[in-house]
């Protein structure tokens, strides 16, 4: 059987799904014989390849860089899998969606940056957040299928290793994975 | 006078002024009309709103006890129906009709202009407490679209300019209006 090319990526997520992927233990070795991982946080490749057969996308689409990337991923992958709850429901990254971006940033990077007593004047800084070097946060973190068409959904936070393995095995065998009963939201 | 047979644990109202007594009498009268039965709730709330201008929390407690309706049910009814308001209204009220004919006739633009010029959206009151803006579903004055109600008086064939002028006069103490 010809090897398939695989890419994995994480957008706005905690990398927990990738940890679960690694949790396949020795089964990972079997898998390695059947797939080429061309691009992943786990391998050293900085540029998304021109073409991959399967891409697992972890995380929600949360900033302008994610938006660009997800479009490239869709264009250059035959199969896109929404990998884990953040990619499917926006999950924890989506919990900020109820608040304006400015309020979220203020809270995270200014109010909580140092305990109040350690701040010079005990007041939050009035300087805003600069986006010169980091991507601009979108108004909301969104599930990836709201941005691009997605072929398969693998829910779970994280999806259990056996569900990941099942999905890849079915794809390798050219079958359509039936995820029913393998995992669930928040698993 | 409280009707007989009401809940003995009825929450006492705060000390009332003579004017408030009168308003309370109106409320009691409506409740008695329905023999203090729960089905008089909506009519009673209408009377409360007419007499007090809005549904004050102490009155809601009082009505709940008198009609023997659970507190949460009273609150549920008060918020289910759009005629009732839980916030004190401004000195003047401007109701813009959003019925179909008025919408086609441009009531949306009127609301937009009020928001732009006066700075209040539907359900809001100006900071000086002078003017409240409300929307009506349909005043039934479709023949005169777009229509509105200014302090209880229905006026038809409105334009944003007419409405803004009226509100402006309210805000600036024009004695004639």
């Amino acid at each position: 059987m010809a090897k398939i090319s695989l890419a994995t990526i994480w957008l706005d997520g905690c990398s927990g799904c990738h940890m679960s992927f690694l949790d396949m233990d020795e089964r990972f070795l079997d898998l390695a014989g059947q797939v080429d991982i061309l691009f992943s946080p786990l391998v050293d490749n900085k540029v998304f390849p021109d073409h991959v057969d399967v891409t697992l996308v972890e995380g929600a689409v949360s900033n302008d860089s994610d938006k660009k990337n997800i479009a490239i991923i869709r264009q250059q992958s035959t199969i896109v899998v929404a990998f884990g709850d953040c990619a499917i429901t926006a999950n924890v990254p989506g919990m900020r969606n109820r608040y304006p971006v400015e309020a979220v940033l203020q809270r995270a990077y200014i109010e909580n940056a140092a305990p109040p007593q350690q701040r010079s004047n005990g007041q939050p800084s009035k300087e805003g957040i600069s986006f010169h070097t980091v991507p601009q946060l979108a108004r909301m973190a969104r599930p990836i299928h709201e941005c691009i068409p997605v072929d398969f959904f693998l829910p779970g936070c994280p999806p259990p290793p056996r569900a990941i393995l099942y999905l890849l095995t079915e794809i390798l065998a050219g079958r359509t994975p039936q995820m029913h009963g393998w995992t669930r939201f928040g698993a | 006078m409280l009707a007989e047979g009401i809940n003995p644990n009825a929450t006492a109202l705060p000390a009332t002024s003579p004017a408030q007594d009168h308003r309370l009498r109106m409320v009691n009268r409506t409740m008695q009309l329905y023999r203090n039965e729960p089905h008089g709730l909506i009519e009673t709330l209408h009377t409360v709103q007419e007499s007090f201008g809005y549904l004050e929390e102490p009155i809601l407690r009082y009505v709940a006890a008198a009609l023997q309706v659970p507190l949460s049910r009273v609150y549920a009814v008060a918020t289910f129906y759009h005629s009732f308001t839980l916030r004190p209204p401004g000195e003047h009220t401007c109701v813009i009709c959003r019925g179909t004919a008025c919408y086609i006739g441009g009531s949306g633009q009127i609301l937009d202009r009020i928001k732009e010029k006066v700075g209040i959206a539907t359900g809001e009151t100006t900071a000086d407490g002078k003017v409240s803006l409300l929307e009506a579903r349909c005043l039934g004055s479709c023949g005169l679209a777009p229509a509105g109600v200014f302090d209880g008086e229905v006026t038809g064939k409105l334009s944003p300019e007419k409405v803004l002028e009226k509100i402006g006069r309210w805000q600036h103490h024009d004695p004639e209006h």
Binding site: - | L45, V77, A101, I104, A136, L144, E153
Partner: protein, 548 residues
Amino acid sequence: MTLNIEDLQQIARIEKSKKDGFQHRINVCLAAGCLSCGSGLIKEALEKEVTRRGLDSWCKITGVGCLGLCAEGPLLSLPTSGSYYQGVQVSDVPEILDSLNGSPVARLVCPAETPFFQRQVRIVTENCGRIDPERIEEYIAEDGYAGLYQALTQMTPQEIIDQVSGSGLRGRGGAGYPTGLKWMSMAKAMGSTKFIICNGDEGDPGAFMDRSVLESDPHRVIEGMVIAGYATGANQGFIYVRAEYPLAVKRLRLALSQAERMGMIGNNIFNTSFHFNLQVRLGAGAFVCGEETALIASIEGRMGRPRPRPPFPVEFGLWDHPTMINNVETLANIAPIIRRGSQWFAGIGTEKSKGTKVFALAGKVVNTGLIEIPMGTSLRDIVFAIGGGIPQGGRFKAVQTGGPSGGCIPEQFLDMPVDYDSLAQVGSIMGSGGMIVMDASSCMVDVARFFMEFCMSESCGKCVPCRVGTRQIYDILGKITASRATMAEFTMLEDLCDLIKNTSLCGLGQSAPNPVLTTLKYFRDEYLAHIHDRQCLAGACKKAEEVL
């Protein structure tokens, strides 16, 4: 006090001779439309001027109900000469009185030989604009309560139901259920306590027929209810009216106390053993309370949330007793049917839709106002002949009937007869009778969005498809009008409409997608233009700034 037929006739005679004693009569429209143009002041001025000139016994000023042509208010009618005045101002008063013996004031004359007046057939509104709604005597003088007398003293309940069935009258509130059948099942319902409810919760935006009838001729509705009570074995009635209609409420309450005083309601009506009590109940601003089970909940003092049917209210209604709910206009048809017989009524209208229908004509049409026409009149006649066409040379685009549960009917169906079945065939409904005309300047997607906003904020929130689905549809329509939607969202729109239509709990939810479905069907190109070409064909929608 209990009257007999002689008393009734006596009252009518006195009233008529009083009327005939005046050389001239001027009727001033005091329905809400004209009142808001200042007709109250005009009536006052007329009365003052008449007294000042010492003409009190020569000219009679009467405040009457709706004259119909609301667009040209304030309206006066001069029954003695048969002419109408429009757009009257207080300053015109002396001139009007001066001209009573001569030729009418030309600049105020409202041409009465127009189709607007001549094409109408008035049954429900026969007294509107002709009698003072605040005086029961005037109603009696127009054969008022004669139908009730006849029903109570000469007919059995079954005979009345047979008359109503034979007339072919169908419910005027929307769905068009045969009234006779409803009365029959109510008469058969088990129970010693039964209720009749008059549904005057006219919540459709763009409809004001019921308001006009209640304001202009409240006794007719009361008479219809008492007859209904006798025919079906109910002794208690409720008239549920929107709180937004204070004038209608006031006149109804007045009419009730008059009817009570004369013994048309209460105990031993017309010396028979029949009792009937009637109360007015106020709505509080909830469209969903037009739904029967929600209306019942509201009268019981609860939130107006519908419950699943069956069981239907005729079995389990108000306080679990059999309850029959009829619309204002339906009940207003009853007395004439009893008086003149079912055959007369069945001779008007089309094969399956009998009688007349009152429409509130509004929107982009010259003669906005209240009209009553025989069933089967074509849309073209309504809009162009009676309505006078589109103002300012505009181009007709669609007519919306049935309010938020109805649909938009395009030009190609203009020659369609207006009856229950034809309207249903093109995806709309008769509804309670709102008819909004739209011209080329209205964007149909925006219109659909307007109605969806209505359904969303009027959804009671009980069942999931209506509560959340209307919001999702509204969001998509908002995106389309802002030219930001994709084809995927367009597909989702159709899918959601289908979901809500098929799975919602009550009629409001099930019909909520109708405005979207009909515009999708007849004005699909407008939707697609917003999506593909990012433009609004009607030029009505503002384009949102491109988002990242």
